[in-house]
Symmetry: C2
Subunit: 144 residues, 2 copies
C-alpha cells in the first residue's frame, strides 16, 4: 500500500515530549526529537506543525524555544494524530474515470465508495481506542 511512517513518527514525537516533560523539562526541541527518531529536525517540525494545527501541541519561538503538549497524553488518541497527519482516504478510486457507458464502469465507484466509507469508519473507531498514554506505556514496557 506504500504505507508511510508519519503516524509512527508523530506518535514517537508525542511520547518523547511527554516523557521529557515528566523529567522536569519545559519544552523539547525538534533536534532532540529528531535524534531519537533518527531523522531530520525539519521532518519533526513539519509533523509537529500539523499536530499544532490540530491543537495537540504548542510551540514557542525565540530563546528557550521548543515544543510542549497542549493536552494530556491520555486525552490524545491515535485517531487524533492520524487525522492530523494523514490527509487522504485509505483506498483510491480509478486514476482515470471508468467507462460510463459500461454498467460496471458506471456503478463501480459509488459502490466502492460506500463500502470503503464503512471500512474507514471502523478503522477510525479502532484508532480512537488507543491513547498516546497507552503508547507510552507500551514503549516503557519493552523488555530490556
Amino acid at each position: 500500500m506504500s504505507a508511510n511512517s508519519r503516524l509512527t513518527i508523530a506518535a514517537h514525537a508525542l511520547a518523547w515530549i511527554s516523557l521529557y516533560q515528566r523529567q522536569g523539562h519545559e519544552v523539547a526541541t525538534s533536534e532532540q526529537i529528531a535524534a531519537s527518531a533518527n531523522t531530520n529536525p525539519v521532518v519533526i517540525r513539519r509533523l509537529l506543525g500539523e499536530l499544532r494545527k490540530a491543537g495537540l501541541v504548542e510551540s514557542r519561538r525565540g530563546v528557550g524555544a521548543g515544543w510542549s503538549l497542549a493536552r494530556e497524553l491520555e486525552s490524545i488518541t491515535l485517531l487524533d494524530v492520524y487525522e492530523a497527519v494523514e490527509p487522504g482516504p485509505l483506498f483510491a478510486m480509478h486514476r482515470a474515470t471508468p467507462d460510463q457507458g459500461c454498467v460496471v464502469g458506471y456503478g463501480i465507484q459509488p459502490a466502492m465508495q460506500g463500502i470503503y466509507e464503512g471500512i474507514e469508519e471502523t478503522l477510525r473507531r479502532e484508532l480512537a481506542r488507543v491513547t498516546l498514554e497507552d503508547v507510552l506505556r507500551d514503549v516503557l514496557a519493552a523488555p530490556r
Copy 2:
C-alpha cells in the same frame, strides 16, 4: 497515505468478468476489462495474475483465450482480493532505526507493531465481511 487503486481495479475486474459470464460468455479478455476500467490491458493482466496465484480466477491462452472466475463471486471476499494484491502492512515504521540508546527510540517499534497488528486485524475482519457478490449488487444498484 498515498492510497493505491489496486483493490478497486481488482474488484472492478472481478465484477466485470462475472457479469460477462452471466451474459453467456466463456471468458473475458484483459482488453475488454481494461476498456471498462479505462486503463491499460497490461495493468489488468498484472492484477489478474495476482488473483490467479490466489486461486480466484483462471486464464486460458491461445485462441479464445481470456479470464474466467475460479470460484463463485459469493465466496470471494474483499479480504481475499486485498491479500492477493496488497503486499505490505498498512502503517510503516521509521525508515531509519531510531536511537536504541533512547528509551523511546528503543521501545517505540515493538509498541507500535503490537498496536498496528490489532488494527490491521480489525481491518481484515471488516474486509472479510464484504463479498464480491455484494460489490456487484451495489454496482448494479447505482441509480441511472
